[in-house]
């Protein structure tokens, strides 16, 4: 840094080949309906927590699927488990259980568990 006045930027692409997909795999093993998400946004549109915070279950589903676990790890806490999303999901995803399982999975696989 001192010599040149800058450091070499790191890429921010989703590197699917290197990402950790254990969280995702744990969820689909125990809640197969998680696979049926079509990212319609019905869940996040109706989300009580999403009204006040940057919480989106749709986004969380996608990120966990891709093994991009950093945001979901912290964001999961914002869910109040009210279950509105479960009522709305057109693909019958048991979203409440997905959140439970995701929390479990982070505890199980993650050294930075909450």
């Amino acid at each position: 840094m001192d010599k040149f006045g800058f450091t070499i930027s790191k890429g921010r692409q989703i590197n699917y080949d290197q990402n950790d997909r254990r969280i995702y795999n744990y969820i689909i093993e125990n809640e197969p309906s998680f696979r049926n998400c079509i990212a319609c946004g019905g869940c996040s549109g109706s989300c009580s927590a999403g009204n006040f915070t940057r919480f989106s279950l749709r986004e969380l589903n996608i990120l966990i699927n891709r093994g991009e676990n950093d945001l979901p790890r912290t964001n999961l806490k914002k869910c109040m488990l009210c279950g509105k999303c479960t009522l709305i999901c057109p693909r019958g995803v048991n979203t409440r259980n997905v959140v439970f399982l995701a929390k479990q999975a982070f505890k199980r696989f993650d050294s930075y568990a909450f």
Binding site: F6, S9, G11, R12, Q13
Partner: protein, 235 residues
């Protein structure tokens, strides 16, 4: 308040560069800037096509519009014939016209480009001229460049150049009459006006930021904008 979308439409590159976007992301997928900056050209096009004045104003004041490297890889691929790179150029132009560029760290850098490249064009007739590419400002050029720079008179002669000489040839002196013509072109076409706007808005911003502001590159404000990177651009 002005309708910013209409103002953008006055730029021919914007008119050329924006057709209906379907958010396919082909531009972002190939964009070198999206790979290293928190930047998504798809979203920029989407904001612009929303014609939402507030969102466009935010954009003009944002860091985002300054991440693009104008490589135009996006233009090659867009299935709707859009050119996000050209849209960015229009946004940057308007941001400078309205003085919004000083609201962002990356935008403020326009003064550095004006002071280096911009003044070089009018003073030498070259975008860059070897005398100004100093090893102090360009340590990344490496030790060989130090030698080149130090020995430029002899080296350019040895290679068959015409350093500061008359007539044609490499690094020749551009005649004063030619420089006068360039300056006149800048005057007639709004180039000088752009330069002056960059200067005056920057001066205002420097005062706001409590930084010394002077001509040339040896002052607090220049040094600040040239070197500052708050590290929040690549998240």
């Amino acid at each position: 308040m002005d309708n910013l979308f209409d103002k953008l439409m006055e730029d021919i590159r914007f008119e050329e560069g924006l057709n209906a976007c379907m958010n396919c992301g082909v531009c972002t997928a190939i964009c070198p800037a999206a790979e290293f900056y928190s930047y998504d050209p798809r979203k920029i096009v989407d904001i612009v096509q929303s014609r939402n004045n507030e969102l466009i104003e935010d954009l003009l004041k944002s860091e985002q519009i300054w991440y693009c490297g104008e490589c135009m890889s996006c233009k090659t691929r867009c299935p709707r014939g859009n050119a996000p790179g050209l849209i960015i150029m229009a946004l940057r132009g308007l941001s400078q016209d309205l003085g919004y560029f000083t609201e962002s760290e990356k935008g403020r850098q326009q003064l550095a480009i004006k002071r280096t490249i911009g003044e070089s064009i009018l003073n030498t007739g070259y975008c860059v001229y070897i005398d100004g590419i100093s090893p102090e400002f360009h340590p990344e050029q490496g030790p060989t460049w130090e030698w080149v720079h130090e020995n430029r008179v002899d080296l350019i002669e040895r290679l068959g150049g015409n350093y500061k000489g008359d007539g044609p040839g490499i690094l020749r002196k551009i005649p004063q009459e030619t420089l006068d013509e360039l300056k006149k072109i800048f005057e007639v076409t709004g180039g000088l006006e752009r330069y002056e706007k960059i200067e005056s808005y920057s001066k205002k911003k420097a005062a706001e930021m409590n930084l010394d502001f002077d001509e040339g590159i040896d002052n607090e404000y220049f040094s600040h904008i040239y070197k500052t990177n708050n590290g929040s651009h690549t998240r």
